[in-house]
C-alpha cells in the first residue's frame, strides 16, 4: 500500500482508495480451500467462468482450458460445484 495516513490531516477529501484496488489487494489470501482445475478433463463449456462471482477464472487464450487467478479467488467453490465435467477439485490451503 502506498501512503498510510497517520492522522486526520493526512486523509484525502473523501473515502477513496489511492489505487486500483484489484491490482493492489491480493484478496485470495482469505481462502481456506482453493480450486485446482484438471484441464485435461475440461469440456471447454466455460460454465465455471460464467459462474465465478469474482472474475477470478480466465479462459486460456489457446482454448485448452481455464486458469484460476489465485490472487483474487476466494475459494467459494462455486466453480467446483457447477463444473459439469467435475474436473475442479477444492483442496485445502496449507
Amino acid at each position: 500500500m502506498s501512503r498510510q495516513p497517520r492522522s486526520y490531516k493526512d486523509l484525502p477529501l473523501a473515502p477513496i482508495t489511492y489505487e486500483d484496488t484489484r491490482e493492489a489487494f491480493k484478496t485470495g489470501s482469505w481462502r481456506t480451500f482453493k480450486p485446482v482445475v484438471d484441464n485435461s478433463r475440461c469440456k471447454k463449456c466455460w460454465i465455471c467462468w460464467k459462474f465465478c462471482p469474482d472474475m477470478s477464472i480466465r479462459i486460456l487464450e489457446d482454448g485448452t482450458g481455464v486458469e484460476i487467478d489465485y490472487d483474487h479467488c476466494k475459494g467459494c467453490g462455486i466453480c467446483a460445484t457447477e463444473c459439469p465435467a467435475r474436473c475442479i477439485e477444492m483442496v485445502p490451503e496449507d
Binding site: 495516513p5 497517520r6 492522522s7 486526520y8 490531516k9 493526512d10 473523501a14 473515502p15
Partner: protein, 395 residues
C-alpha cells in the same frame, strides 16, 4: 418469567411478538436483519398471528406500516442507518397522520465511508420528525421499551409513532441474560389497538387532506405539539405500571446514577452508559464524586429533569456519538439549551466520542471525568472536543 440468553435484536423481536404486533413490514439491513428474521420466524411458525409484508425498500416498509396503522392494525418495523434515512420522508408522514407505528432502529453510522458500526447520526437525524425517541442501554431495556412504546403511543390522547434504538453490535448483537415476560402479563398490560378513526369501507373518509395556510395546518401541528408534551407524563406513568408488574424500570426519561451528590456528571445515551457506571463506581471508591445521567428518552426531551440536574451539578460533560456539522453534538446543544434559563448555569462541555463505532473504553471514560474535574477547578477549557481522534503527533 424465564431468563433467556438473547441479543438486542432478538429482544426487539420478542417485544413485537409479546405486544402482538399485527402487521410487520420491513427490509433487511445490517445490523438489524436478525430482528425481522426472528419476527418472520414467529409469523411463519404461527407463534405470532400477524401479517408479514416483504417490501422492496425501507421507504415502502414505512409506507406499508402507515397504511396498516391507518386501517387500525398494530404495526412494527426495524431498520438502521441508510434504511432509516431512506424512510425519513415517511417518518414525518406517520406523525402527521397520527399513526402509532413502533420501530426499532439499530444505531449505525451513515455512509460514506461505509460503516456498519455504532453511531447515533442516523437516529439523531430524525429528531424533528415528531416521533417519540428512546435510547436503550441493555437488551432487557430494549424488550421492555418496545412493549411500553405501544402503550404510550396508542393512547387515544397521544397517538404518536415511536422508535427505540440499540447501538450496533454493542447491543444489537450482544447476548446477555434477559427476562422474557409472559404473554399473559403483556396482555394484561397492553390492550388491543382500537383507533376510533380508521380506513374503513363501511365508513369512508379522506386521509391526508390538503390544508391551506388560512385553514388548519398550523392547528393540526399544534395538536401534535400538545400530544408530545402530554407524552412526558404518560411515559412516566407507563414505566411505573411496568415496574409494578415486572419489578423493572429504567429511571424515567433521564436515568441518573449517583448524581445526588456528584461534583461532575457525564451525560450520554446508549450502551456506553454501562461502561460509565463501572467507571463511576471505581472512581467513587477512590473518593471522587462522579455521576452519570443517561438520556433514555430524547423525544419528548427531558428538559425539567435536566434543569433539576443542572441546579445541583455545575460541571457536566455531554457525550455525543454523532455530530451536527457547523454546530456541535446534538445531545450537547439540546442539553445546553435546556439549561439556558437557569440562574446559575453549569459549565457544559461536549465530548464527541465513539463516532463510526470507535470503542468507548473505561480508559476513555476515565479521561473524560479527569477533564471534568479540571474544568470544575479551572473553568471550561473548550466547548467541544473530539475524543480519541487520530491527531498528528505533536513535536
Amino acid at each position: 418469567m424465564a431468563k433467556k440468553l438473547i441479543n438486542g435484536n432478538y429482544a426487539a423481536a420478542f417485544g413485537a411478538k409479546l405486544a402482538r404486533a399485527e402487521v410487520i413490514a420491513a427490509y433487511p439491513i445490517t445490523p438489524q436483519t436478525a430482528v425481522v428474521e426472528q419476527v418472520a420466524d414467529f409469523v411463519a411458525s404461527g407463534e405470532m398471528k400477524a401479517r408479514y409484508v416483504c417490501v422492496e425498500s425501507e421507504h415502502s416498509a414505512m409506507a406499508a406500516c402507515i397504511a396498516a396503522a391507518s386501517a387500525g392494525a398494530r404495526t412494527f418495523t426495524a431498520t438502521s442507518s441508510q434504511g432509516l434515512l431512506l424512510m425519513h420522508e415517511l417518518l414525518h408522514w406517520a406523525t402527521g397522520a397520527r399513526t402509532p407505528v413502533v420501530m426499532v432502529n439499530v444505531n449505525r453510522a451513515v455512509a460514506p465511508p461505509w460503516s456498519v458500526w455504532a453511531d447515533q447520526t442516523d437516529s439523531i437525524s430524525q429528531r424533528d420528525t415528531g416521533w417519540m425517541q428512546f435510547y436503550s442501554e441493555s437488551t432487557q431495556e430494549e424488550l421492555d421499551t418496545v412493549i411500553m412504546s405501544y402503550k404510550v403511543g396508542e393512547s387515544p390522547d397521544i397517538m404518536l409513532p415511536s422508535f427505540t434504538t440499540e447501538d450496533a453490535f454493542f447491543l444489537s448483537h450482544t447476548f446477555e441474560p434477559v427476562e422474557i415476560p409472559s404473554q399473559e402479563l403483556v396482555d394484561g398490560f397492553l390492550p388491543p389497538f382500537r383507533p376510533e378513526i380508521r380506513l374503513d369501507v363501511e365508513n369512508p373518509r379522506g386521509f391526508g387532506s390538503l390544508s391551506m395556510p388560512h385553514q388548519w395546518y398550523m392547528e393540526l401541528r399544534y395538536l401534535i405539539a400538545e400530544a408530545m408534551d402530554r407524552a412526558r407524563e404518560r411515559i412516566l406513568r407507563v414505566e411505573q405500571e411496568w415496574k409494578e408488574l415486572t419489578g423493572r424500570s429504567y429511571g424515567g426519561p433521564l436515568d441518573e446514577y449517583r448524581t445526588e451528590d456528584a461534583d461532575v456528571v457525564l451525560m450520554n445515551a446508549g450502551t456506553a452508559a454501562s461502561t460509565i457506571r463501572e467507571v463511576v463506581d471505581n472512581l467513587r471508591r477512590e473518593g471522587k464524586r462522579v455521576g452519570l445521567a443517561r438520556i433514555r428518552c430524547f423525544r419528548p426531551f427531558p428538559t425539567e429533569e435536566i434543569r433539576a440536574l443542572g441546579r445541583r451539578v455545575h460541571t457536566i460533560g455531554v457525550m455525543d456519538r454523532c455530530y451536527t456539522f457547523g454546530d456541535g453534538g446534538p445531545f450537547f446543544t439540546e442539553v445546553k439549551s435546556a439549561l439556558y434559563n437557569l440562574k446559575d448555569r453549569p459549565a457544559v462541555k461536549n465530548f464527541v466520542v465513539g463516532i463510526g463505532g470507535r470503542d468507548i473504553t473505561m480508559k476513555t471514560v476515565g479521561k473524560l471525568y479527569d477533564n471534568l474535574f479540571r474544568i470544575k477547578a479551572g473553568g471550561l477549557d473548550s466547548e467541544k472536543e473530539w475524543i480519541d481522534l487520530k491527531r498528528p503527533e505533536v513535536g
